[in-house]
């Protein structure tokens, strides 16, 4: 008995080809998403999702560690959700957050870009609101210096 397989065996098996794709194992729990709908819209809504989780957490006066613990997710994941717009959250992660923050799971999934919304307008409204509500923080001295340097470079006349 050996793991090696002869050309003869393989030739025999060719005759039994069912012309289907072999596969076995559990289907993933990630909901199916139409790849066309994914594109730009999802990036936008993920930005809003991340921002929303950040605000929701701070409003409840939770540290990142505490919320991650409550939601049974990794601290790194939560950080990525709040700070990385390209980060694609896991189904289980969003489920954990919906429990921990006591928010409706299906809509939160849509906001997180994991489910295609049946009715899309609410996402657009939420996105517009997020843009309006972004705080205007004062520029720090370092940032001011950086700004001035760039403006100077931009306006420098060619010599």
């Amino acid at each position: 008995m050996t793991y090696g397989i002869s050309a003869e065996w393989s030739k025999k098996m060719l005759a039994f080809d069912e012309h289907v794709t072999p596969g076995a194992g559990a289907l993933a729990t990630r909901p199916h998403v139409d790849p066309d709908a994914v594109s730009l819209r999802v990036e936008e809504t993920r930005l809003v999702f991340g921002h929303f989780i950040n605000v929701a957490r701070r409003q409840r006066r939770l540290t990142i560690e505490k919320l991650a613990d409550d939601a049974d997710i990794e601290v790194g994941e939560l950080l990525s959700i709040e700070q990385d717009p390209h980060y694609e959250p896991d189904l289980r992660t969003v489920w954990g957050l919906s429990n921990a923050l006591d928010l409706p799971q299906p809509k939160l999934m849509e906001l997180a870009g994991l489910a295609v919304p049946k009715e899309g307008h609410w996402l657009e409204e939420v996105t517009r609101y997020a843009a309006r509500s972004a705080p205007i923080k004062d520029v720090t001295p370092d940032e001011q210096a950086f700004h001035d340097a760039v403006v100077a470079a931009l306006t420098m006349k060619a010599t």
Binding site: K11, T21, P22, P35
Partner: protein, 212 residues
């Protein structure tokens, strides 16, 4: 890691080609999955969408979202879960993860006996037979993996007994292997994946290449 010589069918050349069966799923396999399998699946899915096929259609590829890296991380260091992979021309063509210890047979003739259970089995997207897919590049990747799983079962003393839940489109494949279809259960995989088992007799026939 041990590599064994196996043979696949190179469809373009119309001839047998030497390949390797590895008794593990290593970083190389996960890199191939991440940088070759996944983009190929995305391309295929885009083609489906372009042809008007969406998630609710049965043509939607059922394993596109499997995270092989995650699946192997889950079992890292565990004796009871092992992997096998098929490599041809230095590219991974198929992979499977096995459970050696935690499952038992259901078929009446062998109920309660230990068997090898196939947790996951997938062949590379360019070897798929699916509507709108290009013709497969290599054939026999599935049979080579089945041969390995049965051989492992024999080596463990389980006499070739295997268990697995078939993806719906693969049902004819396992029926042809001579495995018994025990059907679906509503509390298993949402009632979508039928459970198959091989018997020592079916396994022996398979290893000899004597299917009906």
């Amino acid at each position: 890691m041990t590599a064994y010589q196996v043979h696949l069918f190179d469809a373009a050349a119309g001839a047998m080609v030497e390949a390797e069966l590895h008794d593990e799923i290593a970083e190389k396999q996960l890199i191939d999955w991440q940088f070759q399998w996944r983009p190929a699946v995305q391309t295929y899915m885009k083609r489906l969408v372009d042809n008007g096929i969406g998630p609710a259609d049965t043509a939607w590829p059922q394993s596109w979202h499997w995270d092989w890296r995650g699946k192997m991380n889950e079992v890292r260091g565990l004796l009871g879960h092992i992997g096998y992979s098929v490599v041809c021309r230095d590219v991974t063509q198929g992979m499977m993860r096995l459970d050696l210890a935690s499952r038992r047979a259901r078929l009446d003739s062998q109920a309660g006996q230990d068997l090898v259970y196939v947790d996951y089995l997938e062949v590379a997207p360019w070897n798929w037979r699916e509507p709108y897919a290009d013709a497969p590049i290599y054939r026999l990747v599935g049979p080579v993996l089945m041969h390995a799983a049965i051989t492992r079962s024999v080596e463990e003393g389980f006499k070739g007994r295997l268990g697995l839940h078939s993806l719906p489109q693969a049902i004819p494949f396992y029926e042809r292997c001579g495995f018994t279809n025990l059907g679906t259960r509503p509390d298993e995989y949402e009632g979508k994946l039928p459970y198959f088992e091989s018997t020592p007799g079916a396994a022996e026939a398979y290893l000899k290449g004597e299917l009906k």
